[in-house]
Amino acid sequence: MGLAFALVIVRLLHLQVVERSRLTARAERQQEQVITLEPKRGTIFDRRGRELAVTLDVDSVYGVPSKVDNPRELATRLSRILREDPRMLERKLAGDKNFVWLSRKVDPSKAAKVKEFDSEEISLRSEMRRFYPKKALAGPLLGFTGVDNQGLEGIERAYDKLLRGASGWVLAEKDAKGRMVFPGGPGFQFKMPTPGNDLILTIDEVIQHISEKELDAVLLSSRAKGGVCIVMNPHTGEVLALSVRTNGAGRQAFNPNEPKRYKPAEWRNRAVTDAFEPGSIFKPILAAAALEERIVHPLERFDCRGGKIQLADRVIKDAGEHGVLTFSDVIAESSNVGTIKVALRLGKERFYKYVTAFGFGRKTGVDLPGEISGLLRDVRLWSGVTIGEVAIGQEIGVTPIQIAVAYSALANGGTMMTPYIVSEIVDREGKRGQKFIPRPLGRVISAETSAKVNTILQRVIEAGTGRNARLSGYTAAGKTGTAQKIDHKTGAYSKKEYVSSFAGFTPALSPKLVIVVMIDTPEGVIYGGSVAAPVFKAVAEQSLAYLQTPPDDVEGRMLLVAR
């Protein structure tokens, strides 16, 4: 009896004194649980505060395989609700783990059905899910997030650190039934998560919609492979719309709510990641350089008869027959011969200086991931043909955003602006954290030269190759382009595949919008004036009306009433 009592005492001492710290820690582990608190990812708004990307609490389904008796039966039942592969579910439920994700971020209807299970084997846990309420609108621009809310593409990736926020945690206690209890009081340990910042974009949802709709329409009618349409404020560099279609006509536009349904090529933002030969939309750069250097007058006449010009070992031809043209008409009629004659007079060194000053061959610095510099060979490596080729937009690779920036300088009086997409960062307390202001990069041409180029580009639309871009009620200036694509098999210019483009601005007299349209590989009619110019017209007319810009060209049937 005495011995037994002594044993009990010894055991008691062992448990209470020797093993005390270890057992206390074990009890705490059983009773306490650290719960990670996910931060709420910031919202992305358009320039007028309309939501483009929001985060919402949703349920994720997890299983406790160690408590599952019949994985196959449970997997079959669950697969009907979750619409997941039953074999995959069975595999997950077959182990002896205490936690395994079965389906992340499920729809509320699915979560409600799983709740009805009310078992220890299957349960729900709240997680954050990203929603894009406007569906495919600005999809490749916004990008998307991964299952752990990390930004993977587009603005979501470029601004991931700011949008994401920081996780928090809470030390909760479990009661005898395993229910979570938050003890409160002075000993209550927690760290609240820091929500991510909100972003306000320069993008206008309505102009974005207009550009996407018109781009889709032309892709359908021309059966093209893809296209880009950029709308920009030439005075500030704010991008008002950036539409990208890379999946061809007929295929649904990239919807960031379901990124898994698309191939990587379909969410690529080709406005910044791909270079193309611009063709004739590059001619105004030569015109600006030549006029700035005063080596040509807009009314100087050039003999373009014969329609071809010999450059080193190559003959470059015009698309059509021209006579003697003024320099204005060389651009308006898009004569390769006339343009090359002016380029030769300018010389490669001076021309190269302007090409680089207009931002070609280097990144624009737009706040989007994956931007490339385009392709511009160093002037020391130019062959005898290169000066003529570059003047007409060949032997040079440009991104659509570079064209938009260069045309902005032509439109705004000669100042290069850095393009940008995010205008403001708003912190979690609703304070305006950081406001981005327009960043001029310096003057590239004088205001006088800019006005001369403006007049020439108005002529393109009034009487030249860009007649289809003529607007109702507004003046406009711009240039058409039809560039042969490189055939990757032969390495030579393709005779079947073209890039049709139009770049311009409106109203010409006080430019508010620069619009660049690029259509990749249209079928049938391939000319920029026929394929891309109508998109410019449609986007410009609708956007100016939406912006309530008063018409500045009241010819035709438009009525001007004076009171």
Binding site: V54, D57, K134, K135, R179, P183, E205, R557
Partner: protein, 110 residues
């Protein structure tokens, strides 16, 4: 006259009565403290459950609010509004002659 023995007896009785009273008071104090302590703990637990329930309700309400916001936002998408206006309401874009530009006298030039 009380005897000395009677006095001692009364004193002993008095002392033992006081001792018992003190013991009772101490026990009462301990019991009350324990009850208060346990009561407090139970109250904290109950409030903890209440907080949890309210947190859940709040979360649910926040979720509902979020879903409604997303729904409102998607219903206000320009593509949907345009389709609704053109297909269901039969609205059309204004043609050239439909637009009247009114210039007010003395209005600042834009």
């Amino acid at each position: 006259m009380t005897t000395r023995a009677q006095n001692i007896g009364a004193l002993v009785f008095e002392r033992s009565k006081r001792g018992s009273l003190r013991l009772v008071l101490v026990v009462l104090l301990i019991v009350t403290s324990l009850l208060l302590y346990v009561g407090g703990k139970v109250r904290i637990m109950r409030l903890g459950y209440q907080i949890e329930t309210l947190e859940r309700e709040k979360l649910e309400l926040e979720r509902t609010n979020g879903s409604l916001r997303i729904e409102a936002s998607s219903l206000a998408a320009p593509a949907r509004i345009e389709e609704f206006a053109t297909r269901k309401l039969g609205m059309v874009r204004p043609e050239k002659g439909d637009i009247v530009v009114v210039k007010r006298k003395g209005a600042p030039k834009r």
